[in-house]
């Protein structure tokens, strides 16, 4: 029995390819498969070429493959662009009203038109054809449409049914076995980040739209009432971080999100978070840069930027989730750490994690929201009182007994501006202490993940979303994978342990210089080979397999 199926659906922007990807994923989820959806779309609203690859597997997967079983083409372009991906045994489902190909051609455009429906409904028609080919009962298709298409639901079901029946000739040509697994929630990385934040105590999300971070704002704004939060879209990213810091100073857990360009605008306030010690959690979802770069594609080129953004020396945390569960749980951690230590925390991800869809398994009962160090109300309140660990207790405006003075200048314990050399030195020492304190805290946590064969002396080291493809390839070749979850403080204590004795260390990253590899080398760990990709696309499993085969 075939273990996995990959379906590519393609058309123009405006054809509803994203929704098609989503409904196909739901369909496969319903019959017990683990799902991963990769979305590929240019930065335009109409025209161009959009596609989604939906990969379903009997086992957990975190990446897609280049090779596909079924190609669903809503236009000719899709055939020309993707035929090469087809495996030997394959099927093309296409709209014969607009497209020529060999396979299952049905006049989807006409069927939809005859029913007086807009052309976008062709994507539901295609879903009907696919279900028939895969031998999935129509009742499941009906359920999926009901739960995901809110407008003209009945008509959509009728269209799907007509196409389902007319696809009889190819019925069961890719008959998949229905698995016993319970279906799982399907979420994008950004949705997982949003929900993780809520479980971490988020009350206010503030952002200015920028792909690929925007969907966190969209999702939280849509669900703000049931999630007990508020959302704001201010004038620009400087306004975003300024507002968030005001709210955090007043005691409310906030988060902000952006991509490289917006993060660049925020950097002065990032430094303010360091000086004034304001908990500031920022999601930085990377896309290819410099400047506007390639807005709707992916990259891991902002690692050094995240590590070094902001003037001056101050403590920060950079955490880099690589899959859907990490996105969820590490966002809780990000909020915890920001508030425990009153520092900026950057949650570094990329388009590939933010916008890909995964089967998710979240256990809400596992979540621990740490309480920050709060002032006990004794004596006079001093916002920057010097302590052993560098962390001063928090009080908030509105407290009768405390006067809370926050300062962007170097200041004394009370928060009054100073230029006194001794106090300036003490300010730095306070921040240095916090760096040490955070490092000690991380030493108690899982900072590095290991996959594959832990005994292998060939080690693949990677970070963020790239771990999806790397992990799968490592299984094929029986190699070890090392993935740091935290990049600042850099878990050198753990990495050294896991890299010791390796004969060959291979770095795999989606950027042009090998930023993690460089970081490792600064820290004295040699990386033997670098596999880098910088075309805006993530590694697929088969592509990476080829590259690693050549090195081994």
């Amino acid at each position: 029995m075939q273990k996995e199926y990959s379906v590519l659906v393609g058309g123009q922007a405006g054809d509803g390819i994203k929704q098609a990807g989503n409904t196909i994923a739901r369909l496969l989820n319903r019959v017990g498969y683990w799902v991963f959806v990769y979305e590929d779309y240019p930065s335009i609203i109409r025209g161009g070429h959009n596609f989604a690859i939906i990969r379903a597997h009997q086992q957990k997967i975190l990446a897609h493959t280049d090779k596909i079983d079924i190609l669903i083409a809503l236009n000719q372009d899709t055939i020309e662009k993707h035929s090469e991906r087809l495996k030997e045994k394959h099927l093309i489902i296409f709209d014969s009203s607009s497209t020529k190909a060999e396979g299952l051609g049905l006049p989807l455009g006409e069927i939809v038109k005859n029913k007086g429906l807009p052309q976008i409904v062709r994507n539901t028609a295609a879903l009907g054809a696919l279900a028939s080919v895969l031998g999935i009962e129509f009742s499941i298709v009906e359920d999926v449409i009901k739960s995901s298409i809110k407008k003209k639901t009945k008509e959509n079901i009728e269209v799907a049914k007509e196409v389902y029946d007319r696809a009889k000739k190819f019925e069961n040509s890719f008959k998949l076995s229905v698995l016993k697994n319970q279906p799982k929630p399907l979420l994008t990385g950004n949705e997982a980040i949003a929900l993780g934040a809520v479980k971490g105590g988020l009350k206010l999300y503030i952002a200015y739209p920028m792909t690929p971070a925007s969907s966190i704002l969209h999702y939280l704004a849509e669900h703000e009432d049931e999630l007990n939060i508020a959302t704001v879209h201010p004038e620009n990213e400087i306004g975003v971080i300024g507002m968030a810091q005001g709210a955090a100073y007043a005691g409310i857990k906030t988060m902000i999100g952006t991509s490289g360009g917006g993060f660049a605008l925020m950097t002065e306030h990032l430094s303010l978070a360091g000086q004034a010690e304001i908990p500031t959690v920022c999601v930085l979802s990377q896309r290819p840069a410099p400047a506007t770069g390639v807005p709707t594609y992916t990259a891991q080129g902002d690692l050094f930027f995240a590590l070094h953004a902001g003037h001056g020396d101050f403590a920060r945390v950079v955490v880099a989730p690589g899959d859907i569960e990490e996105a969820f749980y590490l966002t809780v951690e990000a909020l915890n750490l920001a508030w425990q230590f009153q520092v900026p925390v950057i949650l570094l991800c990329d388009k590939h994690l933010s916008e890909s869809t995964f089967s998710a398994e979240f256990d809400e009962s596992k979540i621990v929201v740490e309480s920050p160090k709060l002032w006990k109300g004794e004596g006079e309140y001093r916002k920057y009182v010097l302590t052993k660990d560098g962390v001063s207790p928090l009080a908030f405006p509105g407290d009768e007994k405390a006067t809370v003075k926050s300062n962007s200048y170097e200041c004394d314990e009370f928060g009054i501006t100073t230029e006194d050399p001794q106090l300036v030195t003490k300010g730095h020492e306070k921040r240095l202490k916090k760096m040490k304190t955070i490092e000690n805290e991380l030493k108690k946590k899982e900072t590095v993940k290991i996959y594959g064969n832990p005994k292998s002396d060939v080690v693949l080291i990677t970070w963020g979303s790239t771990k999806g493809a790397v992990e799968e390839v490592a299984q094929t070749y029986n190699l070890k994978v090392v993935q740091p979850l935290y990049l600042e403080p850099f878990p050198i204590w753990d990495l050294r342990k896991h890299l010791e004795g390796a004969k060959k260390i291979i770095g795999v990253e989606v950027n042009s210089t090998g930023q993690l590899c460089n970081l490792l080398e600064f820290k004295g760990l040699k990386v033997d080979e670098r596999i880098l990709k910088y075309d805006g696309r993530p590694f697929t499993v088969d592509e990476l397999e080829e590259k690693i085969k050549k090195i081994l």
Binding site: V144, P185, E226, L227, Q245
Partner: protein
């Protein structure tokens, strides 16, 4: 509560005779009176500042404060108000600060009618950086960056605030601190975005005391509920010195509109509510 109760131990470093003293006095006196009148509580006051000579004011007043960055005051001020609508938020900013570096934040705070008060110490130069021209310096101002005279005409911040949607627009003069105090009190009590442009002589780089003393007069018989009337009065003086005529001070415009915080928080105030279970929502991702 007496004015001395709001003093900090900080040594004041403004130049003797600086107009900032008048603002510090007026703000403190306004707080004291509002506290004694039981209209606000001391612990609910939060003051903010940008960066510049004006900004030192937060070190001098013993209430909650947020010393922010150059130009950015309206952003954290709005954030504080969203986080805790019970608080009274007063932002102090310079003219370089609010009308130059961070103008967009000021316009948007006015546009969204955030319930905060902005007091602009308008000394019409960049004082802390040693006297360069600012957005409200008269054309030809011989600042250090424009020794041949500033090439740009000034902007009229009151006009700008009126068209941006501010629901309280006023001007005051530090040489008339009691009048300024009254305006600050009313601005704090106003529900919505309050804006006060304060004519603040800088004795070191642009001493305008004598000029203002001669030209400033208090608005009388003015209908502050009319935008047209306000616009007319606001245009009486366009920050072009040497111009004939007089400078009106007082409240030009005041209307009541729903505030930004009321709109976005609705009835709910999310902060008191528990962290929700995700069960139901996740179910919708799984069907």
């Amino acid at each position: 509560m007496k004015i001395e109760d709001l003093k900090t131990y900080t040594e004041n470093t403004w130049c003797p005779g600086c107009g900032n003293f008048g603002i510090e006095f007026a703000a403190k006196q306004a707080f004291v009176e509002l506290i004694n009148e039981k209209k606000i509580k001391r612990e609910d006051i939060v003051i903010l500042s940008g960066i510049g000579c004006h900004a030192k004011i937060v070190d001098y007043i013993n209430v909650n404060s947020f010393y922010s960055l150059h130009g950015r005051v309206p952003a954290p001020a709005t954030g504080i108000k969203i986080a805790n609508p019970e608080l009274s938020i007063l932002g102090f900013a310079g003219d370089g600060d609010a009308y130059g570096e961070g103008l967009v934040h000021l316009i948007f705070a006015a546009k969204r009618n955030s319930d905060i008060t902005m007091v602009i110490h308008n000394n019409r130069n960049y004082a802390l950086t040693t006297g360069q021209f600012s957005p409200t310096s008269p054309k030809g101002f011989p600042g250090r960056s424009t020794p041949k005279g500033s090439p740009e005409p000034p902007l009229n911040p009151l006009e700008l605030m009126l068209v941006s949607g501010a629901t309280f627009v006023a001007r005051a003069f530090t040489g008339n601190p009691n009048h300024l105090k009254e305006i600050i009190k009313q601005a704090i009590l106003h529900k919505g975005f309050s804006f006060i442009d304060v004519l603040q002589p800088c004795v070191t780089y642009y001493n305008t005391f004598e000029f203002y003393r001669k030209t400033v007069y208090e608005l009388k018989d003015h209908d502050s509920s009319s935008r047209e009337a306000a616009m007319k009065k606001v245009k009486k003086w366009n920050y072009l010195d040497g111009e004939k005529g007089k400078i009106p001070i007082g409240i030009f415009y005041q209307v009541k509109k729903p505030t930004f915080e009321e709109i976005i928080l609705k009835e709910k105030k999310p902060y008191g509510l528990p962290i929700p279970s995700l069960k139901k929502l996740l179910k919708r991702h799984n069907s």
